[in-house]
Symmetry: C2
Subunit: 355 residues, 2 copies
Amino acid sequence: MASGRQKDNPPDEAPNSLPLIRGRRATSYDVARLAGVSQSAVSRCFKPGASVSGKMRERVLKAAEELEYQPNAIARGLITQRSNLVAVLVSGRLNLYYPEVLFRLTDELSKVGLRVLLFTVDSEDDAESVIEQAWQFQVDGLISASHLSRAQYDLLQKRSIPVVFFNRYFTDRSTNVVYCDPRAQVDALVERLVEFGHRRFGLIRGPKDNMVGFERIRLVTEALQRYRVAEIREVQGDFTYDSGGAALQELCVHPATRPTAIICANDMMALGCMDEARSVLELNIPDDLSIAGFDGIGMSQFASYELTTIRQPIGRMCQAAVAMIAARAELPDQSNERRVFEGAILEGRSIAKAP
Amino acid sequence: MASGRQKDNPPDEAPNSLPLIRGRRATSYDVARLAGVSQSAVSRCFKPGASVSGKMRERVLKAAEELEYQPNAIARGLITQRSNLVAVLVSGRLNLYYPEVLFRLTDELSKVGLRVLLFTVDSEDDAESVIEQAWQFQVDGLISASHLSRAQYDLLQKRSIPVVFFNRYFTDRSTNVVYCDPRAQVDALVERLVEFGHRRFGLIRGPKDNMVGFERIRLVTEALQRYRVAEIREVQGDFTYDSGGAALQELCVHPATRPTAIICANDMMALGCMDEARSVLELNIPDDLSIAGFDGIGMSQFASYELTTIRQPIGRMCQAAVAMIAARAELPDQSNERRVFEGAILEGRSIAKAP
DNA sequence: AGACGTATTGCATTCGAATGCAAACCGCAA
DNA sequence: TTGCGGTTTGCATTCGAATGCAATACGTCT
């Protein structure tokens, strides 16, 4: 009775019937029947390293091919408790930095047999529901390139879903992190600007809740203080192009004492800044105003900008993130890891001697 | 024996134990036990529109909350034959147009309870394996914003996976398509340029295998012929920034007879073109050379470019694509649908009177 | 109270693949 | 031939939720 799955179906049409049996996809039972073996045998033939004789494997694979059988990932996930899905969270506001990361992550993940369940997150509420979704789908791990609250992270921990943060972290929690530390390059950049004679600096921050942006500006500030630069004006941006232009206006309300060098927490704002400087304030970059950014996004190197910026080694960072999540999908209880990468200065033409 | 799932487990610790029972997630059985009802009752409480009394629903939901129970999407998918996953295929080469589409699609899909299984596709071989993957995961549908071969499409058809093409289609197959037809805008644009006195045109094509790029250039050519413009030079690009610059060089090998107006099959190439014109050929845009593009990507409106371009109503197109795929996930056997959207001219400052 | 109709609930089975265990098989040596 | 060790194979069960069907509870009317 319980064993009766094999051939107590209503008398079939031809045994070697069409690939799609009555519109349904072929199952391991169909293959087993056609090959004249048990369902378990079929299953084993698709599991690398299982104990199967050559003869058997051959017969099964032939039958499988004939029926166009592919193991059902859903059923497999149910029994193995591994979905082979990784949730990837990216911020939706179009930062042009995220897509690059996202595509790289996707490629790397697929190399190790993991699929991307994509979520865009724009607010903490979004993140809330994303976590529920990810949980429902039994994801094997989660890579977050967007903001998560501590409570949300703790929830993931409790549910033992491995998490890797991409370019963000908590100061008061140990987590898996892939991170780019631009310290050395910030120093070099600031030294360079100071040597160029800049004494009045403008800094454009990222959104308040963003660690990376905050950290970048902090490093710049510290470096400037080391060089005894006193005139530092900071204004708030939100990583978007428009906010870069607006921030520049704010920095230049008193034209006489405006900064001669501006460092933006990301490239996108730097571009906004350059455009605003040229087209509205009618300043020459870099002769009248030096501008630098962070990230090294593709368009920062377009001929119109040639921005000097501190680039992240995105490719290697994505590889690292995937390696970390894959390892933890395999063996969930590994200790947290923190991989820090160096940045690199991308020499553009957006900085020069102070006017 | 067969019924023995309910309480023949080894004697449990406390019945109202921790949310994660021995590290495992709570199942509907756990909830049922805690609430003192059957598993089916729990299932029904999570199915909208099922027949459940208020009393029961209350008890179950309370128990579920206590155990932090969420239905397991994998198990549900197995039995219902619906995964609630939609495969989204985008081209990986960084076109800056895809990310925008991708994020929009993701948002819209999540509104109707569908999740995105993301795949990047750079070659036909990629597509091959993507289709296998999608099939393994029993996706409820597939939205393709990248190239698929006819054979691949036919395979999806045979497996009765609903497919919606985004901005591409076959001329010899009926498919579900969401598409932007820029005909009217192309006419208007060409008329405008001709009125501006342009007589020598350069056209920069997209990659050979791309329908949309081809179609755009075809429409432009036809419009130009209608206006009796004879001097049309076409060169090949591949949608990237760099190829735009290279194409411009090609068009200007004989400076004396170079085009005075250039239309590019997408914005990205138009930007490359503008930059090349300004920084290498030292031409003024738009006074020496008019340039126009297609897409209306965000950066085409940056102050450095202010490109005149034909925009796609991406938002509405994504909504349409999602509506189509959602409907077909629900009822697979609907006839194919073809939704065509109008473009819109985005007035920039990149075109002017012929020199 | 009894009869009937409707709204709830539970039982048992199902989806498709993986796997522990036992049975069957093979080869080889005694 | 028998016996032993190792390899293949199959049996039966499992994962977690959904659902057709039968059984029960509940309410209403006579």
